[in-house]
């Protein structure tokens, strides 16, 4: 929570809210940065880190909230005001004049002059050298920008800020473009700056760097403040978990998968990134017909390059085999013609031609077939009827959007057009990259349904997403990508967020631990279901036989033991139980789970359709069994009601 306003803080931002149209980029975010520290701001892509810093630097104005510099309330209207308050920012993309020298770039806009008229570059050079030496920045002031490395350019940006008297330095993703060596050097420079009393704020989503550099870390998720923690006290897993959040169990209606032949087979894939470093290395993955494989991972671990290689937008080494045929190092059309469809991450850039009508966008791939352009002439009637069908089938709104420009539709409706178009090609392989980015809840559910539908039709689905919830809820198998390769693969329902977070940060989980985690997840699921059934029965006014009630409650016991005495209401109990299961160390859970079969008969588990593994042989008492059937029915009814209500809700939305 927000600290008291005091001069011991270099920067305090309290209750910052920033809206873009109807979208809340930041909601009531607090940030307190102590003087002379390195403070990280951690969050996923689009969490709002950069927006928060742009507010501080005066590039955006907050709609609500206040900013204090050194305990004084300030109003930062533009970057000039920010500089006056001693704030300097190094953007991810440098803003340097390529064919100017380092010195010229640094003094640009505040050049020392002789009697106010002519430039005094000698003085400028001297000033620059002073700062260079003071902080051990080691930059040649006479080199031209275009001749120096990216790491050096970054130093020039830092120098620019320091030259303008920055006391507070904001670095936006400073290591994204650096080599390992350069990162180490940057860290050393940052420590020098701190020694001199400067304050540094780093925007990042790289956990390692936070550990290596920062004193404090503030976590932001989807525009909301999560927590501020001292970095020394937390592990990378904890940070990862806080960054991605706990899985929210969305109701994703889906039957178990029924995987068939291997449709996509990626073997020993290597792909270079812009910096010509291997971003994907020794990558192996198979996706079968009728299953959804989700790739979980923190942004920047090779997902982008993987997608580009599979879509033939980038050269690669290794093999990408689509239904038995190698498709790598061809052109995008080659894959599309052989049954590949992709829902791109950036629908504005890669998915749609915004200046085209919805009609034209609908046939962006089909247009070249003889069917849609017989003899080279576009069959407008066909185009229209196909697009109208698509608009109907996917409920694109407004209904009469066909002749309008695709750029005028809302994000959700644009996404529907893309998905509809891709699915209409009847692909063997459907790749969905961040398919729900920027969509509202109703639209997200829709997209997930469509993916599962395709899977059930026998399509192999590859889902790449930074949203852990999405990957966990939709995928049949979860493959964690880390540093360009698959770190580990999990079956759905055998792993929790916490464990995934750890693997996403580069850790591994061994078999035994996995068993414990799996058992815990199953126990949690069973307990939750049993509890729901019991509650539903109570709600329905059903008399629950003492015996059955006891079982249901008992099934719950292992995970609620700690909370049982608190005497919370049943609903709270369930929530806390889930929490406890997630938070308790693995060995305790394993112990607890081990206790289930012995202490509790299988009845409650069966009653609630818990995973088969948790169930042993049938019960003894026939009467109890009958009551359990009644309970099951209750549960079913309640679920139906719930689904109906959700539908109503989404309709209303």
């Amino acid at each position: 929570m927000a600290a008291e306003v005091s001069s011991k803080y270099a920067v305090q931002m309290h209750g910052i809210t920033k809206r873009f149209g109807s979208f809340y980029a930041l909601t009531d975010v607090d940030l307190d940065v102590e003087k002379g520290t390195i403070h990280s701001i951690l969050g996923e892509n689009g969490a709002g880190k950069s927006t928060l810093m742009n507010v501080l630097y005066g590039l955006y104005q907050a709609d609500m909230g206040s900013i204090y510099i050194g305990g004084e309330k300030v109003d930062i209207k533009n970057p000039t005001a920010a500089i006056e308050h001693g704030i300097g920012m190094v953007h991810q993309h440098f803003m340097l004049v390529e064919n100017f020298t380092v010195t010229q770039n640094i003094v640009l806009g505040s050049e020392p002059t002789k009697s106010g008229i002519t430039l005094n570059m000698k003085q400028a050079r001297k000033n620059v050298l002073e700062i260079v030496e003071k902080y051990g920045l080691d930059v040649n002031p006479d080199a031209k920008i275009r001749d120096i490395t990216v790491g050096m350019q970054q130093r020039v940006e830092i120098l620019k800020a320091l030259y303008r008297g920055a006391e507070i330095l904001i670095l936006d993703e400073p290591t994204a473009v650096l080599t390992e060596q350069e990162i180490d050097e940057l860290l050393a420079i940052m420590r020098n700056l701190i020694k001199d009393g400067k304050t540094i704020i780093i925007i990042t989503h790289k956990l390692k760097e936070i550990q290596a550099s920062s004193d404090m870390c503030t976590i932001i998720r989807r525009g909301h403040y999560i927590d501020t923690v001292p970095v020394k006290g937390v592990s990378e897993d904890d940070l990862a978990t806080m960054m991605v959040g706990h899985a929210v169990k969305l109701v994703v209606d889906k039957a178990p998968s029924n995987p068939g032949r291997v449709v996509l087979d990626i073997q020993n894939l290597y792909v270079k990134n812009e910096q010509r470093i291997n971003a994907v290395k020794d990558f192996n993955l198979q996706v079968r017909a009728g299953e959804i494989v989700g790739i979980a991972g923190i942004d920047g671990n090779g997902q982008q390059e993987l997608m580009e290689a599979v879509n033939n937008l980038k050269r690669c080494k290794g093999k990408i085999i689509l239904d038995g045929e190698e498709i790598q190092n061809r052109n995008p059309k080659y894959g599309i013609d052989r049954g590949m469809a992709t829902i791109p991450a950036d629908r504005h850039k890669d998915g749609l031609v915004l200046g085209f009508s919805v009609y034209e966008n609908a046939i962006l791939e089909k247009y070249r077939s003889e069917e849609y352009s017989p003899g080279g002439r576009i069959d407008r009637k066909k185009m229209r009827s196909f697009a109208e069908e698509l608009i109907q089938a996917y409920d694109v709104r407004p209904e009469d959007c066909g002749p309008r420009l695709a750029g005028g539709l809302s994000g959700g409706n644009q996404q529907k057009i893309i998905i509809g178009r891709e699915i209409a090609n009847e692909p063997k392989l459907l790749i969905a990259i961040q398919p729900t980015r920027g969509l509202d809840v109703g639209a997200i559910e829709n997209v997930h349904k469509m993916l599962i539908n395709e899977r059930d039709k026998g399509v192999a689905v590859l889902l790449i997403s930074f949203e852990l919830d999405e990957v966990m809820n939709v995928s049949d198998r979860i493959a964690v990508i880390y540093d360009g390769h698959i770190q580990q693969i999990f079956e759905q329902g055998t792993v929790d967020n916490r464990t995934l977070g750890r693997v996403m940060a580069g850790g591994t989980v061994d078999e035994e631990e996995l068993k414990a985690v799996k058992a815990a997840v199953e126990a949690e699921d069973a307990a939750a279901l049993a509890h729901d059934a019991r509650l539903a029965a109570i709600e329905a006014g059903e008399e629950i036989p003492e015996e059955a009630d006891k079982f249901a409650t008992k099934a719950f016991t292992p995970v609620t033991r700690a909370e049982a005495e608190a005497g919370e209401t049943a609903a709270e109990e369930a929530a806390m139980a889930a929490q406890a299961a997630a938070d308790a160390p693995a060995d305790i859970i394993a112990e607890a789970v081990a206790a289930i079969p012995t202490e509790t008969p299988e009845a409650p588990a069966e009653a609630t359709a818990a995973p088969a593994e948790a169930i042993e042989e049938p019960m003894t008492e026939a009467q109890v069994r009958e009551n359990i059937r009644a309970l099951e029915k209750q549960l079913e009814d309640t679920q139906k009601q719930l689904i109906a209500m959700q539908q109503k809700l989404s309709e209303m939305q």
Binding site: N311, L313, N331, P332, K333, Y334, G335, I336, D337, T342, P344, D346, K349, D350, G351, L352, V353, L354, G355, F356, E360, L364, E365, Y367, R368, S373, G376, R377, I378, R380
Partner: protein, 401 residues
């Protein structure tokens, strides 16, 4: 939000062009006034010298033809996401090649004309295609390469002019093209006694056909505009080219070969410039190319034409006519009113300027609409508040009773 009628009206590119033209004349009037010329009379003279006599109209059409072609070329390139500032160089190359080929040929007319046209188109297309290739393969921006190629074309043209084989002694140009390639309407018959006699008895034809180089170029230009319009909007190729022009990333993602598209788009754009060059050389005297010290601006004027036409192929016909008319009428302005022809350049400049700015007009109208909507809402709210207050008062009264 519903789009208001007003917004629809002001969102129409044709309306915007008209606004730009009116503003262009308004600014020109102001300048004329400041320079001490009577604006009303000057503008009237200008328009009169453009369309006063049938001969003027014919001359305007002749003058416009090459500009319509280059305008078409540039507009096509813009639609496909390319800025073909090299239209000038492609046009110059077309002229040189057309003259070279035309001066050597001696075939029956249709064959000769066809050969000149095809060779000019081909060379200009290749010249532009090279720019496209450099962009597609190496990522070099087309503006840079095509500007440099413009100069290369100019000096290539001058070099050819100086070659013994092509140089016509006693002039600064090449041998003109042979009669068999002429594309004027009935060029030979006009000179026969029979023709002369016929024309003498038909004053309208005498004035247009007899006194000018009225040629089939304009008709070809109109056909070309229709073809380009069809190509862009109704064909598979056009769909591809426009998709690449609008969003190269999405086009690539959708499996379109964007590199090939860029090269093809440039080649078609260049071919249009070459086509214009061929009809200029074969259709207008002096039917040859002279050594140039500077560009003749036919290609550059094409940029303005495409701009004024908002890159619409059909619009290029009208924009080209306007442009040719102003250039032709400007000369009349000087001789009759004494105002410098530069005033015409100002008019053209201002029209292009306002065309470029005209995207602001719909936005401005949007803002007006929003303000009106806001005012209405305020009024409604105020009314509702008043009503509520009245009812409250009534209730209070009742309570009091």
């Amino acid at each position: 939000m519903k789009t208001s009628l007003r917004r629809k009206f002001f969102g129409n590119p044709f309306v915007l062009t008209i606004i730009a033209i009116v503003l262009g004349f308004a600014v020109a009037s102001l300048i004329l006034l400041l320079a001490g010329f009577p604006p009303k009379e000057s503008i009237r003279t200008l328009i009169q010298s453009m369309i006063g006599r049938p001969k003027d109209i014919a001359s305007v059409i002749i003058r416009s033809t090459p500009i319509i072609f280059t305008g078409l070329g540039v507009a096509f390139a813009i639609k496909t996401g390319l800025f073909n500032i090299g239209a000038e160089g492609q046009y110059v190359m077309g002229c040189v090649v057309a003259t070279m080929v035309g001066s050597m040929l001696d075939f029956p007319k249709p064959v000769a004309v066809l050969m000149v046209v095809i060779s000019a188109m081909l060379v200009s297309a290749l010249y532009a295609g090279f720019v496209g290739l450099l962009k597609a393969r190496l990522g070099i921006h087309e503006v840079i390469t095509s500007i440099m190629l413009n100069w290369i074309a100019l000096y290539f043209s001058n070099w050819i002019c100086g070659l013994n084989f092509f140089h016509k002694p006693g002039t600064i140009g090449m041998y003109p093209v042979n009669d068999c390639t002429y594309t004027m309407i009935l060029p030979m018959w006009k000179k026969t006694e029979e023709g002369q006699a016929f024309l003498a008895s038909h004053p309208l034809l005498q004035e247009t056909l007899g006194r000018t180089d009225l040629n089939i170029g304009f008709i070809v230009a109109v056909i070309a505009a229709l073809v380009i319009n069809y190509l862009l909007n109704s064909t598979r190729k056009g769909f591809e080219l426009r998709a690449v022009g609008q969003n190269i990333h999405a086009a690539r993602f959708a499996g379109i070969n964007v590199n090939r598209s860029i090269v093809h788009a440039m080649m078609i754009s260049g071919a249009l410039c070459g086509l214009g060059a061929a009809f200029y050389v074969t259709g207008q005297s002096p039917h040859t190319v002279s050594t140039l010290s500077a560009f003749e601006n036919v290609g550059f004027n094409g940029l303005s034409v495409a701009f004024i036409a908002f890159s619409s192929p059909i619009g290029c016909i009208f924009a080209g006519l306007l442009f040719g008319g102003l250039l032709y009428g400007g000369a009349g302005l000087q001789s009759k009113v004494g105002a410098p022809t530069e005033i015409i350049n100002i008019v053209i400049g201002v029209i292009v300027f306002f065309c470029a700015l005209s995207y602001l007009i719909p936005r401005f109208v949007d803002r007006l609409d929003a303000a009106r909507e806001n005012r209405r809402k305020l009024k409604r709210d105020a009314k509702a508040a008043a009503k509520a207050a009245k009812e409250a008062a009534k209730a209070a009264k009742k309570g009091g009773n």
